[in-house]
């Protein structure tokens, strides 16, 4: 049996892996699995508690009523849900066009030092603590208006959206093949039209995903709203007045001494997560359907 002999010979050439090395290998694999479990425990615990405590408290009254005075049982966060939508609407209106514009500049024109400077600045802005952005919004809006307002909160969140949107838009536009642009130029389509109708359109779903990521990030932000929109116990539909916001209500209820408000904090947190997730899901669904058949 020459073949078997050959195999045996090769096995003899390779020294056996020592027990210590094998044990180290197993131990390290075990440790890696353990870290995964340890990391997943809080995740499961947070979602579990959110569903368990939140679902028990979400009801029609919670979604349709305004808060009751401290200590009274009942009431809801309807004004906070509407207020958050107002603030996020302002933020998107200001931040999305600016971010996409900056992204277009970076992808289509920014192959120079100015582009590099803007890219780096966007990354740096991304790391600025949200509470510092809140101070800036306070300084440029609240100090001029002389009072807290939904607008100030929207400005703060818009500032936070711009760097994320511009960098993802750039990345998505760069994925569009250069040949597509050249084909458009070859047909005599001017450059601006090519960028808007060919490049940006081909990258629509990616760009919108980036926008939704930025949206999800700011939708749960509380810190920059603390001293810009301030919060409000009543309905407010005006942009220049203090406004309730869902994350602020969750924060205030969580640190209050009342059991019923603790219950409402969990319910508010669940509603907040669900609003964020459903907004993302709805837009992704719409994009997928709208882009059907396109590249």
């Amino acid at each position: 049996m020459p073949e078997a002999a050959g195999i045996i010979a090769v096995q003899h050439l390779v020294p056996p892996i020592s027990l210590r090395r094998r044990l180290t290998d197993h131990a390290m694999t075990g440790i890696a699995i353990l870290t995964v479990i340890v990391v997943l425990v809080p995740l499961v615990a947070i979602f579990g508690y959110l569903l368990f405590r939140g679902l028990a408290s979400v009801n029609w009254a919670f979604l349709t009523q305004t808060p009751r005075p401290p200590g009274e049982v009942g009431g809801g966060v309807a004004n906070g849900i509407v207020g958050s939508m107002m603030i996020l609407g302002v933020a998107s209106l200001l931040g999305v066009p600016l971010g996409i514009g900056a992204g277009i500049y970076l992808a289509e024109y920014g192959r120079d030092r100015l582009g590099d400077a803007i890219r780096f600045t966007a990354d740096v802005l991304n790391g600025v603590p949200s509470i510092v952005i809140g101070i800036v919004a306070y300084a440029i809006v609240v100090l001029y208006q002389k009072h807290f307002s939904a607008l100030a909160g929207g400005v703060a969140l818009a500032i936070m959206m711009v760097p994320t949107i511009s960098r993802t838009t750039e990345e998505m536009l760069l994925l569009v093949p250069q040949a597509l642009r050249e084909a458009a130029y070859g047909l005599g389509i001017p450059r601006w039209r090519t960028t808007l109708s060919i490049t940006l359109r081909s990258a629509t779903s990616g760009v919108i995903t980036g926008v939704m990521l930025a949206f999800a990030r700011v939708a749960g932000e509380t810190a920059p709203l603390l001293f810009t929109t301030l919060g409000n116990e009543f309905w407010n539909m005006r942009l220049d007045q203090p406004t309730a916001a869902l994350p602020l209500q969750v924060y205030n209820y969580a640190k209050s001494p009342y059991d019923d408000w603790h219950r409402q904090a969990w319910a508010g947190a669940l509603v907040l997560i669900l609003l964020i997730v459903s907004a993302i899901a709805a837009v992704r669904y719409a994009v997928r359907r709208g882009n059907f058949g396109a590249a």
């Binding site: 890696a32 995964v36 514009g101 192959r111 991304n126 790391g127 603590p129 509470i131 440029i140 711009v162």
Partner: protein
Amino acid sequence: MANPAFHRPDMPGLQPVEETKVTPAPVLRVEPLLRASNGELPDRLFKYAMIACGLAVLGLLALIIFELVLRSNLSWHAFGFKFFGSSNWDPVSEQFGAFPFIYGTVVSSLLALIIAVPLAVGVAVFTTEMCPPFLRGPLSFFVELLAAIPSVIYGLWAVFVLIPILSDHVEPFLAKTLGWTGLFTGPPLGVGMLAAGIILAVMIIPIISSIAREVLLVVPQHQREAVLALGATRWEMIRIGVLRNARAGIVGGIILGLGRALGETMAVTMVIGNSPDISRSLFAPGYTMASVLANEFAEATSNMHLSALVEVGLALFLVTIVVNTLARLLVWTVTRGQPASTHA
């Protein structure tokens, strides 16, 4: 035909472009001029508009720096560098020293790093090197889901779930076994530096592990194969072939996580106890720069108080800028030059 300059007769071969139809048009007739400039003026306008958007990003950073420096002027002139060394924070007598907040920020963030780094790197190594392929997608999705949870919800969970566990079980145990170090003494309140460190760790694990994963994935496959061919076990392959090559990028990810931990506000404010004390024990309550802004900014009435708070914000801003710049540079040195990377 929208643009006469691009008109071609239906004949093969080179044909001169008919410019003459456009150029001699009298100045008063606007229409041909517009058509001739079709694609030039709008193009230029569009380009300028996009440049304006790009410059706005630079403008935002300039605006942040300008406003912070302007509004903290008063406090800077009153206290100078003493502001960062003094522990006396007294809004009533208008004396401000930010040292306890700086201390709290640094200690809670470092504690978070000590807890988060081994876990995050472990998760990254497991998902890239050990995990069966069918688990890889869902695992990284779940870990990144942690990053999507708003900070206030982490705080809520920490207040009602984590703190009772800490004060009833973990802290008495730590005091009994490790009390002699001096780090785990005092009443086990639950609220305090330890709670802040743990919740920060939970929040920065996804950031560190997703960047570590990214960096491990760009380590060339032949590095792994070469080490395995020398007879290494899997762990030796990871240690020698993978981790050593990815070191700079992982450190970058850790520093990025540190940047996030330094500026984190809501969850920390809810669990750290908000008391400007400096204590060796991790059970003791503390205060961070971001928390003092969250708690006092809306209620600050005197100009000096407001200015001192903005100065705390400016200090926080500068620290995070330095930390983030360092992190970006480290991550770029590893991922740069890879085809998948768009970082120029």
